[in-house]
Amino acid sequence: MTADVAARSSDALAVDSVTKRFGGVTALNAVSLHVARGERRAIIGPNGAGKSTLFAVISGSQRPSAGDIEIGQRRTTGMPAEQVARLGVARTFQMSSLFAENSVLENVMLGTLTAGGQAWNAASSFDRLAPSEHDGRRALASVGLADKADVAAAQLSHGESRQLELAVALAQRPAMLLLDEPLAGLAGPERERVGRLLLDLPRDVTILLIEHDLDFAQNFADRMTVLDNGEVLAEGTPQQVRADPVVQTVYLGTGSAPVRREHARGETLLAVRGLACGYGQALVLEDVSIGVSRGEVVAILGRNGMGKSTLLNALMGFLPLRSGSIELAGTDLAKTPALVRARSGMALVPQGRRMLAGLTVTEELALGARPGPWNIERALALFPRLRERARNESQTLSGGEQQMVAIARALLRNPSLLMMDEPSEGLSPALIKTLEAAISSLRDDGETVLLAEQNVDLALAVADRVYILERGRVVAHEPAAALAANRSRLERSLGL
């Protein structure tokens, strides 16, 4: 590694043992990274490994706690984001970050202003800014959004937003591109087009790519860097990285799911029929029907933006249904508010854990506790880690601990149905194992769990049955064991 750390004149980017802390959490720990001019570098690693933070620090939107950053021989440590951008650095955001009130075209046009030197033009009409409109439309065309030019950004589907993100970045005529999961949530033709677009990007542009789709990352990148828990785990050519056993375990998981017994099902607890809902105009879920029986663990698989979280939120009552029915133990809750659903036995472990600001772990647990088999003692027995954390503010806990709180919090509702939204997100492999154990023990205790996951291994390890969501529809429904036995079919139906 030492050879890498020494700055090279050909470097477009030199990150020198950069550390970034948020309160107690260390997101980046002495990360060093050198990217040559024109190089394509893929940054991979599990959620929460610090990939996005790395981008934030490079692009100047976050100040590093320690370490140095050079872009094109220019020290940019602590430089405000706009100046970094003016050095020719463009980025896309993991969570699409657009000007929602503006039209798609306006979004890209805003992107062209800096490069076009129009940013301070206070006289001529923006709408009639011919050159930037031209560039803008071209950028849109390249990502295949030409026909959406006049739609308001807020109206775009998840996938389209991702494309627009990319278009905006391209409109900046960047010398260096930071792409944060540009393919996340894209499928079929969209995915094809964007993928091709990325591969066809001019070679003189230096590109850093964060991507979960390993196969894509591999044939895109010249070199790959693996981040885990904020540290560089490995770096090298795709082949080298792929071969690296450590990477194998950490990132790709074991790949082998334990074969599990089908155990006797109780009567149907949750019956969802023809559910449809969405945000604004956009319809996210269409005609979704699923069923969960007592004592069963059902997993919902699907890539980002395919509607998994939306489904759970809709079930919990966070967003109104367009149509469809939700029966819990025979009573239709479709029209009831979240409070009623919570009180009639639904509990949710939300995506991102959503710890409550200013509450201690104890308070979080006590907050919704209802009498029943689950009490604080039993919850702490399940997650001993929480015992010593009891007095800490939940938001200062590590991701894994927060996940435990979120689960315990929900369990103490003594719910008839426990819904978990991406519990593995941002957890280190070790923690995912703990989580797996926890969920299994819940299943063996006869709890009913509806689990939305991206982590196939985890899902297959704990689930009895699996539904696969593809762009808001259920495209497959099989016993977990069957899928585990036939991973290739699974990966196909997941579009990986």
């Binding site: 984001a81 003016r86 000007f99 929602a100 800096t114 206070a122 923006f126 109206q155 900046q172």
Partner: protein
């Protein structure tokens, strides 16, 4: 469009004279201040509770200049604008460190500081006695023309600015600052200029107000005056220069009308109207007249 507007507005002096004309000028000058605040609160997303500072600075500038150099409105307007803008330029770096409710508070704090200064600096401001200003050598019609002229010019320039790239960037910064900065747009400086310009324009309104009443007083600097301006803008609906104008017109006329029916329940009625409007409209009066686009309404 400009023509139509001009014609109607220009007709006002013939349609009105005496008190109604006086009121028309009043509307125009409050509209000016409201438009400025709308630029700040609406487009830049910087809701200020300190506009009274700029307004008052303008008013006292008018008073002091008139006292020393005679009531020359061109001069007082120039000085008033400059004084208010400079104040804004000095305060902005500190004020812009905060956003949202905190920005509201710090602007309030600065305004109060100005108020306290004016209150103490009797030799300059006449303290609580206020400051009598010699009448400017303008007929009511001419004065109205000045107010209207300034308003129209301001509207023109702002409308142009807001349609220009710089204006769109300002609006973009309000919507999503991190993204804007990632695009290489220096968010701070856009807000800075919005703050300074809005300050200057409010200063102009203050000057006109002072000449209109031939008087400048601490009340011009009082925080309740800031609240009033904010009420006017919210009344008209954020992010619509026309809304701001409408808000000013409605509010001023409302006050005049109410005070002609009662001298006891003015505040009550004004309050009632406020509550009604807030409850009935999503984005102020303007949205009744012109329902905003679905997206805009979403936010």
């Amino acid at each position: 469009m400009l023509a139509v507007l001009g014609v109607i507005a220009a007709l006002v002096p013939f349609a009105l004279h005496g008190y109604p004309l006086y009121v028309a000028s009043e509307v125009a000058l409050y509209a000016l201040a409201a438009v400025a605040l709308d630029l700040l609160a609406g487009y830049a997303g910087l809701v200020s509770l300190g506009q009274a500072a700029f307004f008052g600075i303008g008013a006292y500038a008018a008073a002091i200049v008139s006292a020393h150099a005679g009531p020359n409105i061109a001069l007082t307007l120039a000085v008033g604008f400059a004084a208010a803008a400079v104040f804004g330029a000095v305060v902005a770096p500190l004020a812009l460190r905060s956003a949202g409710i905190f920005f509201l508070m710090i602007t309030l704090a600065f305004a109060q500081l100005v108020w306290a200064t004016a209150d103490k600096w009797r030799s300059l401001t006449g303290g609580s006695d206020g400051f009598v200003i010699a009448k400017v050598a303008l007929s009511d019609t001419a004065f109205y023309a000045v107010c209207l002229g300034l308003l129209v010019v301001t509207l023109l320039l702002l409308a142009r600015l807001l349609r220009a790239p710089a204006g769109r960037v300002l609006d973009a910064v309000r919507q999503n600052e991190p993204r804007a900065r990632a695009l290489g747009l220096a968010a701070f400086w856009y807000k800075y200029w919005a703050f300074v310009v809005a300050g200057g324009i409010t200063g102009l309104a203050g000057v006109l107000h002072a000449h209109h009443r031939n008087f400048a007083s601490l009340a011009d600097l009082s925080w309740t005056n800031s609240v009033l301006l904010l009420v006017i803008v919210l009344l008209g609906g954020l992010r619509s220069l026309w809304g701001a104008v409408a808000g000013a017109a409605v509010f001023v006329l409302l006050q005049v009308w109410i005070s002609s029916i009662t001298d006891r329940w003015e505040n009550f009625l004004i309050g009632a109207v406020l509550v009604a409007i807030v409850l009935l409209t999503r984005r102020g009066l303007w949205s009744i007249l012109f329902p905003p686009a679905a997206v805009a309404a979403e936010r």
